[in-house]
């Protein structure tokens, strides 16, 4: 333990609470409170109701939740496939080439996501690559945005992987494909699921690029929240936000369960 004295430990806890509560917990609690309110003029919300949740879990909002989940899962799977593939291929490159590859994959994160949204919009608005107006342009933009994280966490895991595993496997007569499938990917699984969780969380909350791209029949949940608060329906928006939060946490939990089951350590 870093801090040994009892007083010191209390002080550290106090600093933690002072920083954590107003910065992280309070805003979330406010959203939770607002989602049950009809008025909020005093210190606490008043006119408690569950009506916002009724509207936040059906019709348009339910549609948007499904849209968000499908977008996040599809984009994350695509990003994981592309990112992991690139990371595995990059591991065989020499240092300089690998650095170029890494830089290419970091690019979408380094560039503001509005710019990514705009560039995807411009690039895919004309035939033969006409995706504008379809759900695929949203999924594509999300994939571009989250691939960086998938690539980064998988390539970090690959550098930590002892080359002795694949070498022993090869000496035992396993072809490179067999080694990849039976040895390297299973050993990388914990970091693959961690990367999947990160990608899903990022995609579920993505707004700025999505705003520029989404077609009327493919409205993700963050867009709906933005629209609701924009027209002044703060309490409805809060309820939708809580649903988004819960859905994201549930999905992350499910993914981490898969990861824990597959993990061998």
């Amino acid at each position: 333990m870093l801090v040994h004295s009892r007083k010191g430990r209390w002080a550290v806890w106090a600093v933690f609470l002072v920083l954590f509560v107003p910065l992280f917990a309070l805003p979330l609690l406010v959203v939770l409170g607002a989602s049950f309110a009809t008025h909020w003029s005093g210190v606490l919300p008043s006119g408690l109701t569950t009506a916002h949740y009724r509207s936040a879990t059906r019709g348009e909002a339910l549609q948007a939740l499904t849209t968000s989940l499908v977008t996040a899962l599809t984009a994350s799977l695509l990003a994981l496939a592309a990112g992991a593939w690139a990371a595995l291929a990059g591991a065989a490159l020499n240092k300089r080439h690998r650095r170029i590859l890494d830089a290419l994959f970091v690019l979408p994160v380094a560039v503001p996501s509005v710019v990514v949204g705009l560039s995807v919009l411009v690039a895919f608005s004309k035939p033969p690559m006409l995706l504008n107006g379809t759900r695929w342009i949203v999924i594509l933009a999300h994939t571009v945005l989250v691939t960086a994280f998938a690539h980064q966490s998988v390539s970090a895991a690959i550098t930590r992987l002892d080359p002795a595993y694949e070498q022993v496997a090869a000496s035992l007569g396993a072809r490179p494909g067999y080694v990849l499938w039976r040895v390297r990917l299973p050993l990388l699984l914990p970091s693959l699921t961690a990367a999947a969780g990160l990608c899903i969380a990022l995609s579920m909350g993505e707004l700025s690029a999505t705003m520029m791209l989404y077609p009327p029949d493919w409205t993700p949940l963050p867009v709906l929240i933005y629209a609701a608060t924009d027209r002044g329906a703060l309490f409805t928006g809060s309820a939708v936000a809580v649903v988004l939060m819960a859905a994201t946490l549930f999905t992350l939990f499910a993914v981490s369960r898969i990861g824990a089951k597959a993990s061998y350590r």
């Binding site: 002892d162 595993y165 496997a169 000496s171 035992l172 007569g173 396993a174 040895v183 061998y264 350590r265």
Partner: protein, 348 residues
């Protein structure tokens, strides 16, 4: 099946790490590659396994030139220092890995896995995961995994280095037994530990600075080292800078009898004497020195004495009245226990 290195040179970025190695391992022989780190011994093993491609030269397994074959087509068993058991597979799955990868019929796999585990004394642990085993047990499983594919060549890369001393001697005996049970398997055993090499190997190839220094049976290397490096790395030795005179050598003004065949009078040379062949008191070849250090090692005393600007080591049977520091002592050795070597670094 034997292994042959045919002037194999390996270089990384122009840096030569193995310099035209010529070495033949006979079928069924245990060859130890012995040397300090950076001597090129592991590189030689990796060239056989196929993990490094020689810049020039050929590697042959039996009559087959495998220089350009990928590792998975060489049919070699390999055991590495850190075991590298697949952590997500149970022991029996680890041992079956090579057989499955080679598409061995299912019915046969079960028997072969059981046989390999039996041979290494791990039959009772088939259902365990590697993390549930001790280091020594993990290394046994790694050996079983390599033996399951019935390789005719087994590569062992510092297999005992991660084990503590007591386990190591047990595993050494175990490896000797395995070698007796598998007389057809050639083993290439890379180690920096001379005890392992002397115990296990039929022949030892001593490596230093990317080159093969000397290759021979343990006894040959011990009795007739050809260089100062071999003499000091295998067994440890007193290396005395001497000048050849008629019928012997001159060490710092003391004349010593020695076999000087092949040496010219007046030439500089190095006289190699093993510490345990040096005795205390009167004898044929006498050197007087001052005791600088004395260590009790249970059955023996290791005595360090300064003579003619050099430190002599003597391993003596436990002394009742060991000399004190600063005492003048007389040391001796038999003329035929000393080997005359070409002059080396000690003259510098």
């Amino acid at each position: 099946m034997g292994i042959r290195f045919d002037s194999v040179t390996v270089a990384y970025d122009g840096n030569v790490v193995l310099d035209s190695l010529d070495l033949t391992v006979e079928p069924g022989e245990v060859m130890a590659l012995l040397g300090p780190s950076g001597s090129g011994k592991t590189t030689a093993l990796r060239a056989v396994a196929g993990f490094v491609r020689p810049a020039s030269g050929r590697v042959l397994l039996g009559d087959r030139d495998v220089t350009d074959l990928p590792p998975h087509r060489r049919g070699i068993g390999m055991v590495v220092q850190q075991y590298a058991l697949f952590p997500h597979m149970r022991v029996h799955e680890n041992v079956a890995f090579g057989l499955k990868a080679r598409k061995t019929p299912k019915g046969e796999i079960r028997g072969r896995v059981a046989e390999a585990l039996e041979m290494t004394g791990m039959a009772g642990y088939a259902r365990r995961f590697p993390r549930e085993l001790s280091g020594g047990q993990q290394q046994r499983v790694a050996i079983a995994r390599a033996l399951a594919i019935r390789p005719s060549v087994l590569l062992l890369d510092e297999p005992l280095s991660a084990l503590d001393a007591q386990l190591r001697s047990g595993m050494l005996a175990e490896l000797s037994r395995l070698h007796r049970e598998l007389p057809g398997v050639s083993m290439l055993y890379v180690t920096h530990d001379q005890v392992e090499a002397l115990t296990l190997a039929d022949r030892i190839a001593v490596m230093d600075a990317a080159r093969l220094q000397q290759c021979g049976t343990p006894r040959e290397l011990y009795r007739e080292p050809k260089s100062e490096f071999t003499a000091s790395f295998v067994g440890g030795a007193n290396l005395l800078p001497v000048t050849v005179v008629s019928g012997g050598v001159d060490f710092a003004g003391t004349e010593l009898k020695a076999d000087t065949r092949g040496a010219v009078a007046g030439a500089r040379a190095t006289l190699c004497v093993r510490p345990h062949l040096v005795g205390l008191g009167e004898g044929p070849n006498r050197i007087v020195g001052t005791v600088t250090e004395i260590q009790w090692r249970g059955a023996t005393h290791r005595l360090y004495a300064e003579a003619g600007g050099h430190t002599l080591m003597a391993d003596l049977r436990e002394l009742k009245n060991p000399p004190a520091l600063g005492d003048r002592v007389m040391l001796h050795f038999a003329p035929d226990d000393a080997v005359l070597l070409p002059a080396g670094v000690t003259h510098a």
